[in-house]
Amino acid sequence: MAKIQTIEANLYYDNFHALRDITMDIRDRAITAIIGPSGCGKSSLLRIFNRMNDLIPGAKVKGEVLLDGKNVYDNSAMDVVSLRQKVGMVFQKPNVFPMSIYDNIVIGPRHHGIKGKKNLDEIAEKSLRQVALWDEVKDSLKKPGLALPAGAQQRLCIARALAVAPEVILMDESCSALDPESTMKIEELMTELAKTYAIIIVTHNMEQALRVSDMAAFIMIDENKAGGLVEYAPTTEVFANPKDKRTEDYITGRFG
């Protein structure tokens, strides 16, 4: 069964219809890439999955968004706090908190009720190992996280998201602020994590989508500027023989 399902999901910012009738199934243990031109609603779609749109006054979602079959917008089925614990997010720019590396990692678990230094230490080590940062920082866990280079900061943010034991990880252009070497590291990491988690990424980088993703969703705005799902299929198919002319134009234009 699909990990996340959207059924005719629509998103409005006040009166602006940003996403129209998005229906898609997102697989577990796979990387799904959301691609499309600037402003088509990729970030908006991603933020539907963990209800980050709730922070924007005037943002409204209509239709259904299901996580393991439960409607995430139905507060009686699932509260937003436990949703966000299950659906973690990594942002475009690393947003390490101004505190130590260690505290950055354990802040999530601590607030979800995990107690005892031993347990927290274990989580910190495990999460940092998952992002291949442990050897680099194990002797400087008390140092401020902001002192790390950007690539390592982004990996710290991923580790922080992993520390609350999520099931889905959303990444909104999480490599776009990084140098090629750090990008490669994070891509390797995504592939590794996709063995256990459902990963959804937004990317402007077609090579990246092709390199890492299993499924690709192409989104574009229609004549009313509302973003819609144009094509959604295994990545290789989308890139090798796109069904829709608009997809083909976008991809070839990007490669071109």
Binding site: I107, H112, A161
Partner: protein, 291 residues
């Protein structure tokens, strides 16, 4: 460049030079005035401190200038207790207010509340004092006992007076945080309140601490409002319902008739006050800069 162009640029340059000199002169004048005041206070006050001895001046408990006793310890205790009281009462309220304004208040409410808070800062301190004398002092006398004129009365008035400073500076430092911190914390499944407590407040810590220190500086330096509600007795207080005299009110009350050593002693009191406030402000500056 044509000759004309050179001439106009020269003209511009000359104008700039004149403006620069005027501003430099004005800046120098204000710094100069400050320096002169400082020197004057030091020159007037130091000889008496030397004569009495630093230790006896600061820790002496008897203040009877006409008999030659110059101990300002009761006043130091007065200043510290009243200020501490103001901090205990005022800081939690201010912090709650600033968190509410920065994080919870709807925009319309915030836009109405902010000018109201600023207005509090504009009320002359004598008005606070008068209000305290008419309302706070009788309340304390009737419900808690004692003369009413007391540490508690002063602390309440000062707590209100430091609200605007502390609220606005801490609100600004919370609002100035990058939005990404808040989003990051919420995305981890932390509640709004957990996010404020564990991410935003620690991140805004330096601004908030600076706000508190500036509030303390304001409280310790206030004179007019507290003169009217403290009772001004020169004695070590035994409870918060006892009257006290602060360093500032000591100067304010006696300066009208003090002469000779007595007058010098008031300047010396000023030196102590000056040092305390300088240290507080420098600490606030240091904390803000360190960020």
């Amino acid at each position: 460049m044509s000759e004309e162009a050179i001439e106009t640029t020269n003209g511009l340059k000359a104008k700039k030079d004149v403006a620069g000199r005027v501003f430099f002169g004005l800046a120098l004048a204000s710094i100069g005035a400050l320096a002169l005041i400082t020197i004057f206070i030091l020159v007037q006050g130091m000889p008496l401190i030397a004569k009495v001895g630093v230790f006896d001046f600061i820790f002496g408990t008897k203040w009877a200038p006409l008999q030659g006793y110059f101990g300002i310890f009761p006043m130091i205790v007065g200043s510290v207790t009243v200020t501490l009281g103001a901090v205990i009462l005022g800081i939690p309220i201010s912090l709650c207010c600033s968190i509410f304004l920065a994080e919870f208040a709807p925009a319309t409410f915030r836009n109405a509340f902010r000018p109201a808070i600023q207005l509090l800062a504009g009320i002359p301190s004598v008005v606070y004092g008068f209000w305290g004398l008419l309302f706070v002092v009788p309340l304390i006398r009737d419900y808690l006992g004692g003369p009413g004129l007391s540490i508690l009365a002063g602390a309440i008035i000062l707590a209100i007076m430091i609200l605007p400073t502390v609220i606005s500076i801490s609100e600004v430092s919370i609002l100035a945080l990058p939005r990404q911190y808040k989003e990051g914390a919420l995305a981890l499944g932390m509640t709004h309140w957990q996010t404020i407590r564990s991410v935003q407040l620690p991140a805004a810590k330096s601004g908030i601490v600076a706000a508190i220190i500036l509030g303390i500086g304001r409280a310790i330096g206030e004179t007019m409002a507290v003169i009217m509600v403290l009772g001004n007795a020169v004695a070590l207080p035994r409870s918060i319902l006892d009257p006290v005299r602060t360093l500032t009110t000591n100067i304010g009350i006696e300066m009208g008739y003090a002469t000779g050593d007595h007058q010098q002693a008031l300047f010396a009191t000023g030196i102590v006050l000056f040092l305390i406030i300088m240290v507080l402000n420098a600490t606030a500056q240091y904390i803000v800069r360190r960020k």
